[in-house]
Amino acid sequence: MSFWSQTMEIARVDMSLERRTGDVTRIVVPFAVIALLVFPLALGVDLSGISRIGPAVFWALGVLFGMQVALRQTASDSPERRDLYALLGVDPAAKFTGRTISGAVLTLGFFAALLVAMVVLYSPRLPEGWLAPTLLSAMLVAIGLTELGTLAGEVTAGLRSRTSLASLIVAPLAIPLIIGGSQTLESVAREATILPWILLLLATDLALAVAGVGLARPLEEASR
């Protein structure tokens, strides 16, 4: 099997597992929407304040809960499945890429659901032509976040404190993503160019992709 066949097969298996378990659709999305509801309750009934903070809350919750999507444990993370992949000669880089593709698709779907919920609940004042740049930045953030989550998941594979440790690793490294995502919308509102922020997101995604593919083999050795 070629590299891309392995990659697409792993992504397909991951997506079918998500279809069966519904980790993202049945757990992460409702939990994030509840978190969206908590913010206005904590702020009080200040309607202008709520609509002003809407996009910022979207990015903060998007990245925090997106981390949960990226770090979710699927059946393919079990030691038996890892051994099976190794015995079958699956390229660790293909495994990283496949996990990244399926995770990015799920994270992007999660962002879309969260965005709709935020627009409905917060009635934010969005500038004209905001949708295309927001979707573009959301796509790049989803890719970067999943790359980071897949890397952190591999680094902490099999450890008892995996969940909290992986979050501790991902959260600070995700800062360029949250800055890039939120500043893209800010730039549209200020009628400024979004190019620097899109380039920041692209550079982060590219650096993480190089690190993920390059370090996939040593990570596989460590996690078995």
């Binding site: 890397l151 591999e154 680094v155 902490t156 450890l159 008892r160 404190s161 440790l165 501790l168 690793i169 959260a171 600070p172 490294l173 800062i175 360029p176 650096a207 993480l208 690190a211 370090l215 040593p218 990570l219 050795e221 460590a222 996690s223």
Partner: protein, 236 residues
């Protein structure tokens, strides 16, 4: 151990000289005595950058060569780097409170990115603590130590990349913006802190060798089974 003692004696003498220069150098006309913080703040963060650079180098060398000394070098340097980042952050906050009127300013990209770098390396240390198996610990932390280094240039260039409260670099290719006496005092303290880093590294890597020797050897398959003695075996 003698080598470590000699290094610490040299570092101690250098700290005394550095302090003398720090307290005798002229102060800034506007900031007054608070400007002397530069003699701790800048050298601490210089050592932090150096330490994280050594961590990345040790991590890469471990991934290539798989020699335990590279893992010891990377982990010792990360610990010292975290310590000096904390000192740099703390002195920066004290200085900020005195000069800007607040210890923490979200408009300051240097402050925010340094805090992020601090947490990234805390994660590195937490990962090492959470991984009991030595080769796996070395391998995993080497991967993180390599990736985490991207934070260092981001922190250094943050004052140029973002509109920020923090001043840009005082020493540039075209010269320095500081008076020569203040610059000399700061550079002497940079050297002093570098020597202190070397002494701490020597001590920490020696401790790591002792720790590794004292660590229980991982159980091997079949270790609990001992072969029967000759007298116990009956002929059948």
């Amino acid at each position: 151990m003698t080598r470590v003692r000699v290094l610490f004696a040299m570092a101690g003498a250098a700290v005394a000289v550095g302090l003398w220069f720090a307290f005798t150098a002229p102060t800034d006309a506007l900031q007054g005595e608070f400007s002397r913080i530069i003699n701790i703040h800048v050298p601490s963060l210089w050592v932090a950058f150096l330490a994280f650079g050594v961590t990345a180098l040790g991590s890469i060398l471990w991934l290539i060569r798989k020699k335990p000394r590279w893992d010891r070098l990377a982990s010792a340097s990360a610990e010292i780097g975290v310590l000096f980042t904390a000192i740099g952050l703390f002195t920066g906050m004290v200085w900020g409170q005195a000069v800007w009127g607040r210890a923490w300013d979200w408009g300051d990209a240097r402050l925010a990115t340094t805090a992020v770098m601090f947490f990234v390396y805390l994660g590195y240390l937490a990962l090492r603590r959470a991984t009991p198996d030595q080769p796996a610990r070395a391998q995993r932390s080497a991967v993180l130590g390599t990736i985490a280094f991207v934070q260092v240039p981001l922190v250094y260039f943050s004052v140029n990349l973002f509109r920020t409260l923090h001043q840009t670099q005082s020493i540039r290719p075209d010269g320095s913006t500081m008076p020569p006496e203040m610059l000399i005092a700061m550079l002497i303290n940079v050297l002093t802190f570098t020597l202190l880093y070397v002494a701490l590294m020597a001590a920490r890597t020696e401790i790591a060798v002792v720790e590794e020797a004292a660590a229980p050897v991982a159980s091997m398959a079949g270790e609990g089974i001992s072969p029967p003695r000759l007298g116990e075996v009956e002929d059948v």
